[in-house]
Amino acid sequence: MTPEQADRRLGVPPLPPRHVARSRLLAALDGADGLPLVVLAAGPGSGKTVLLADWVLARPAPVGWINLTTADAAPRRFWPLLASALRAGTGPGEIPPSAAATAAIGGVQSLLDSLPDSAIPPVLVIDDAHLLTHPAVLEGLDLIIRGGPPRLRLVLAARSDPLLPLHRYRLAGLMCELRAPQLAMTRGEMRALLAAHGVTLPAENLDALLARTEGWVAGLRLSAMRMEGTEHPARFVSELAVDQGSIGEYLIAEVLDRQPEPIRRMLAETSFLDEVTGPLADAVTGRDGCGDMLAGLARTNSFVVPLDAAQTRFRYHQLFAEILRHDGRRYDRCTVPDLMRRAAAHFERTGDFRNALYWAAESGDAQYAAAVLARGGLAHAFVHGVDLSGLHLESWQAPALPGRADAAQAREAAVVSSAVVAVMAGAESAASDLRALDQTADQLADQQLSPELLVTAGLVRLLLGMKAGDAQAVDEAAGRLLAPSGHPPGYRVPGLPAAVMLAQAATQFWHGRNEDVGALLQAALREAERDGPPVLELNVLAMIALTDSLLSRPHHAGEAVTRAHALLRQHNDLSPPLALELAAAVRSLIAADLVAAARATERALTSGYAGFDPGLVGARAVGQATMLLASGDLNQARAVMNHASSRSDLPLLVLLRETLLADIETIVGRPNAALGLLRGCQDGDLAVLVALPRARAYLALRDLPRAQHCVRTVLTATSALVSRYNLLEAMLCDAQIAQLKGDPGRALEMIAGAMELAQDDIVLPFFATQGVFASLLARHPAVAAQWPLPPEGVPVHEIMPGGRPDTADLPDPLTEREHAALRFLAAGLSTAEIADEMCLSVNTVKTHLAAIYRKLTASRRKEAVLRAWELELL
């Protein structure tokens, strides 16, 4: 079985017990064979999914199937999912894996082109297609539907009409529709269903049942379950006929009433889970035997759906779960947060920290979440790059220790509170938190700590060190975690050594200490390959790609990128990490491919959680500003660099920021201001990197001796910090000086040297200085002919200002809170509801909304939401 076939999002759901085939509808589906689109639009419980599953399972040709969820409806996840559904459906080898990567960036056409050319186009079923609301996804689907003779047929099942231009498809005869009236059960189908349950009814009762349920499939199934094995089924129908309330609620309550109390209670108490197993249900309800009850229900009841052949995992039918949750209110013994905490405790016991952290967060219990963090959750999150912002730790309070607390309890409490501090610390407070920690160091380094607490204590120091930008603290913490004594005998967190080495390498890199970075990253990669999760291997590869790109080692970087993409194709649940997008931006920028660089920058800006490395957020801002500078938008570049959220105190990033700002000053004719900015950066290991912007400023001042001196500093540097790119820039600068001194011979010599060094993969410095050497090149056509140029097909005027993505135009990015408010706004919540959701006052929400309108230059809700769609902020 390939990983994709095991993916729950892609499987055809099993048919329910006592399934009755509906031949007229199957025939209607078969009859639509030439059409690019089939839509099944009707409310929940109309039998859409079961009908399609029946149809698909009987089809000779394979069919791709997506069980859509809200999370997968965003373009970034939807297109790769669609490509893997097709791969799983059409069999391996027919669709090149690269199609998924292309589709991820919206290349629907290339995905279609990659489909095998067969007489019968493949079919793709998307269940719950009403969740598709992103304009980019809808546009892509529209292209598939209207793109000439169908290469791919879509079957969409939706509770409400999909947001596609259905009326146009209707007019053009492109679509077959099955709606509530067609999906409703006929008298014959109803009789067959009842017969399958061993129920026979007199004719007048059949009519009454059909009239009351209006042929609603779920209603009829529930009725059949209710009547199964009863002596007087007709009496039930008469009672049902006079009931005036909601039929679904009435029927499910009826069916539940017939369940023995323990089963009913178990169903109610586990109804909040997306997926239930026997042991999990045992833990949540506190009673044994749930696994058998679930398996029994799945055999007789189509509302408990088995998820695997062995019948160990189940989920509840959506409608059923809703009513179960309501039913749960009868039991006031436990509240839902209590149940969630029990689920978290179960996952913690089984070592599944992903789910333990998830349910700890859902339960809203910060005390419990903090304890999970200390007992191994932090190590898991650190290795897997889990976003911990949902844990509500801001409401955590140090619990009062009982008077008779022993030393072990006190030590555990100290680790828990330090873990909370480490997760919550900002860049400003991290240094003082670290110092405070040093004062309690004895407690935390205690050899009597349990192994998982010892590891957590080590990670706390590492994290605080990273946040404070304290390379020495990081090295020390990493040293302890990696030492044999760091992981006590018998206790190992898979991937932890690799994650620690990655953190250490990143910190050293951002501090400009490159000597060991490469070796550390290679060691991290070996460790991650050996026992780390794929996401960690991906993160290590991404960091290798980024550091190699920044040090202009394109071949090494390219290798890491290739491997990272292979991993992404292999594991559908992974998305490209920020470092990988930044690496792509840097590589494109160096090659002066501004269009590709703009695209990569855009992806980096819209990528979600940045992970534990604070340097990446700063690097993203530098990348964006460099991009803006290269396309000539100086003001925006300066605004991005000066914006508070992008300021990082990590030495390399500070230096890159000052360099950029100085270059901008030089370009706008204020070289003295540039030199002033750089004055603060002339000491320390990184000083050699400011020599070039200084040389450019002196050049602008026509102070050739000083410019020459700066250039020489770079050309003669032995530091590993000076990359091929820097050398090349220095040579071109030298050529410029020679030209100004009236020595064209030397200028040409330096240019020739630079070209040789460029090896065809560094283009940007040539692109930037083209104008300076225009007359020299005109006189030497042989040199001009070899002058490196940006990739062909993109006229220069198009990549200059205006060709950038809109996202870069947002001078003042949204804060996290504003972004959260924006999401609620798009979901149609009122101001008061948003306040409620975000636990804020209405006035605070109004302030956030005003800021959103201002930043998005929108005057009202609708405009703000539309603009946010445009900018792909949502």
Binding site: A41, A42, G43, H130, T133, A158, R159, S160, D161, P162, L163, P165, L166, H167, R168, R170, R179, A180, P181, E214, L825, A826, A827, G828, R861, K862, E863, A864, V865, L866
Partner: protein, 73 residues
């Protein structure tokens, strides 16, 4: 199961929004846009979802009597 509905929306629809409701009868009066049409439950919820996604302000949704028989519609 088809029934006639009117959806009232605050303000005038711009081009994107108007295109989204093509195929339905759209009129504007006193800066209230009215969308009329025959809907089943799935298409009605689809129209409401469009209104939500576009960030429009829904004032009310009414089920209305079919126009009197014999009248040209």
């Amino acid at each position: 199961m088809l029934a006639r509905y009117e959806l009232h929306i605050a303000g005038r629809l711009d081009e994107t929004a108007a295109a989204a409701f093509a195929g339905l009868e759209v009129t504007v009066r006193d800066s209230v846009t009215t969308i009329r049409g025959e809907f089943d439950q799935a298409s009605l919820h689809g129209a409401l979802e469009r209104i939500r996604v576009l960030g429009l302000d829904l004032i009310e949704a009414l089920r209305v009597r079919a126009p009197p028989a014999g009248r040209a519609d």
